[in-house]
């Protein structure tokens, strides 16, 4: 992969540039006093220099992106990450118990488990342990649908 930036590496650098620009703009808009910008501005400048360095180094083929995982592997990672994102957002919407039960079940199936009865059984037991054990230690109220 030497001599060019991969799509995911470009996405990462673009994300860093975007986040840095937004944080810097927001901090400058809030106050231009030295004490407010004492970390933001120097760090943003360093990040800008580093992005240029990394891009230049990759384009000149000095730093390769190494061996990239296969397309199927990448898609599998993104699918599980997507399910995880939906699960995290759904926790307080549908209840911690149901969201956990469904996510763990789907996650096991995505992992390649062929048996039909074991994933939901494991998921139900795991959810029960989480709700009654881990959840009981939390000092906050947790929305549940069943328990």
């Amino acid at each position: 992969m030497s001599g060019r930036l991969t799509l995911t590496h470009t996405a990462f650098l673009a994300l860093v540039a975007l986040v840095t620009s937004y944080i810097s703009w927001s901090a400058i808009k809030a106050s231009t006093k030295l004490f407010n910008l004492i970390v933001v501005v120097p760090v943003a400048a360093i990040i800008a220099i580093l992005i240029v360095t990394i891009v230049a180094s990759a384009l000149r083929g000095k730093a390769s992106d190494g061996a990239m995982p296969s397309r199927a592997n990448t898609l599998g990672d993104i699918l599980l990450l997507g399910c995880f994102a939906v699960f995290c957002v759904a926790l307080t919407k549908v209840g911690f118990d149901i969201a956990t039960f469904i996510f763990v079940w789907i996650g096991i199936v995505l992992g390649g488990e062929k048996r039909i009865w074991l994933p939901p059984l494991f998921s139900a037991l795991f959810t029960l342990i989480l709700v009654k054990g881990f959840g009981a230690l939390f000092p906050f109220p947790m929305p549940m649908l069943v328990f």
Binding site: F12, A27, F84, C88, F96, G111, F126, L137
Partner: protein
């Protein structure tokens, strides 16, 4: 250095009855559980159990709470080793070599090493406290905000430059953490970068971010494998191998001593605590090691340095609490609350008037360390079973646990959402060899850096360079910082050229 009359009175307080020791074992077990479960913090455990100490006398209360502290410091390392999930921020560096060891099937040895280093580190920390409480308190007062800025930058540069990736990528990861730490209200009270979201007023929640970037992103990477430890024979939990790992700790006396000393000194600095101690000790031991290139691939010295430092920092943080009345971190802040329950105030007057009580607390903690070795050995067998679970089941289960842990820290949806955002970020970073640890450290220390920089500017009247000339400790750290930044890239370049010359093909 040691007031023998007060010391003998302390021994009498501790050993004339079973009372002071009554709550030590429950305290250690609570600490181990809270430390080992991601999302449950040691300080949270201490705060939850603080009301229980109403019914205890002062010494019992202190021993109970410090037992939670001691158990928690080690418990955080267990999940860091087995699942790459630091149970608390003080175990971040433990995962760097502990987890690769576990992946190689050396989880028993890694757990033993961690336990041995924790026991020895905590022991050294408290021995230092026993003899050096008064001079250490004086030294701590000499460290001002400028020195703190230098310590933070030194630690961050060490971690950012000493990794398997390029220096540019290491620095980029550290700088990304620093810029993300600037979200929310500034240390001077300016509200910035909230994206209209009230959850971001206090900034990004560091522990959920850490869970996401370390654990969740690693779980995504593990997805294609069958077990955490691929070789079937290596998955066994062996009491003998844990024990031999524990004794292996003593094969690295220099690392143990250096990690413990760094931990005790950094722990003694108010507001810094075990998270920085753990990282700085790891970075320093790696920098000075002959095997520095192998760090991060499962080197025992890495586990020993990280665990000895976070455990010895407990003794250090007690220095600031007892001698100055200033809590070094959240856990010692809870201890300070226990002081007030019993109408006591830490500080120079406390050292002068209640020396017997101070010695009793210190010796009691030394006793706890011995008990930790026993309790730790007995519980590790149970905790180590995780390597026997197939990854098909482990990955979604631990991912769910990560999200729950994120909620446990914040009490709102912001926790799980932070976990998933940083899981995605960590996944991208790992794909392209950016060291995620440097980002976490930047995020952890960014706020502190900003506060200390502002204070430095205020104290120096806007002229920090003139002020620095009067601060020899700060100059020393600056010199180290410059040396690291210049020499490490040069050293890498030299090594690469030498390798190319040796292997022209």
């Amino acid at each position: 250095m040691l007031d023998t009359i007060a010391f003998s009175q302390a021994m009498d307080m501790l050993f004339s009855g079973f009372g002071p020791w009554l709550y030590v074992i429950p305290g250690l077990l609570i600490g181990l559980v809270f430390g080992a479960v991601p999302g449950l913090q040691i300080s949270m455990a201490m705060a939850v159990f603080l009301p229980v100490t109403f019914a205890m006398d002062f010494l019992q209360a202190m021993l109970f709470l410090t037992a939670i502290f001691t158990g928690g410091a080690y418990g955080g390392g267990v999940t860091a080793i087995l699942m790459n999930i630091p149970g608390s921020s003080s175990s971040v560096a433990t995962a760097f070599d502990g987890y690769p060891m576990a992946r190689q099937g050396k989880h028993n040895e890694a757990l033993g090493l961690g336990l041995g280093a924790s026991v020895v580190g905590a022991f050294i920390g408290y021995i230092l406290l026993l003899f050096l409480i008064e001079p250490l308190a004086g030294l701590v007062l000499k460290l001002g905000p400028l020195e703190m800025v230098m310590v933070v930058l030194w630690g961050l540069t060490l971690i950012a430059t000493l990794n398997d990736s390029t220096v540019a990528k290491g620095l980029m990861a550290g700088a990304l953490g620093l810029i993300l730490s600037q979200v929310g209200m500034s240390t001077t009270g300016v509200l910035r970068t909230r994206i209209g979201n009230p959850y971001l007023i206090d900034g990004i929640a560091v522990v959920p971010a850490m869970i996401g970037i370390f654990a969740a992103s690693e779980l995504l990477r593990l997805r294609g494998n069958t077990y955490l430890v691929e070789a079937e024979g290596a998955r066994n939990i062996s009491f003998g191998r844990i024990l031999s790992g524990m004794f292996e700790t003593f094969r690295y006396p220099g690392v143990l001593l250096r990690g413990s000393l760094i931990g005790a000194v950094i722990g003694a600095i108010p507001g810094v605590g075990s998270s920085v101690a753990n990282l700085v000790a790891y970075g320093e031991v790696r920098r000075s090691s002959k095997n520095r290139d192998k760090f991060g691939t499962g080197v025992p010295e890495g586990v020993v340095a990280a665990e000895s430092a976070n455990s010895s920092s407990e003794g250090g943080s007690m220095t600031a609490l007892l001698a100055l009345g200033i809590p070094g971190g959240a856990a010692t802040a809870v201890l300070l609350a226990a002081f007030s329950f019993h109408n006591l105030v830490g500080g120079p007057a406390f050292i002068r008037d209640e020396r017997d009580l101070i010695y009793a607390i210190i010796v009691g903690n030394l006793g706890q360390v011995v008990l930790l070795a026993v309790i730790g050995l007995l519980t590790l067998r149970l905790l180590g079973m995780v390597v026997k679970v197939p990854l098909t089941y482990l990955v979604p289960s631990v991912l769910a646990l990560c999200a729950w842990g994120g909620f446990g820290i914040t009490g709102t949806i912001a926790g799980p959402v932070t976990v998933v955002c940083f899981a995605g970020l960590g996944w991208l970073m790992r794909r392209h060899d950016y060291p995620v640890a440097a980002t976490v450290i930047g995020l952890l220390l960014g706020r502190m850096t900003e506060g200390e920089l502002v204070r430095t500017m205020q104290i120096s009247g806007g002229n920090p360079l003139a002020y620095m000339v009067e601060r020899p400790i700060a100059i020393l750290f600056l010199v180290l910082l410059v040396l690291i930044t210049i020499f490490i890239p040069l050293w890498r370049l030299y090594r690469k050229r030498r390798e190319a010359a040796e292997n022209p093909s």
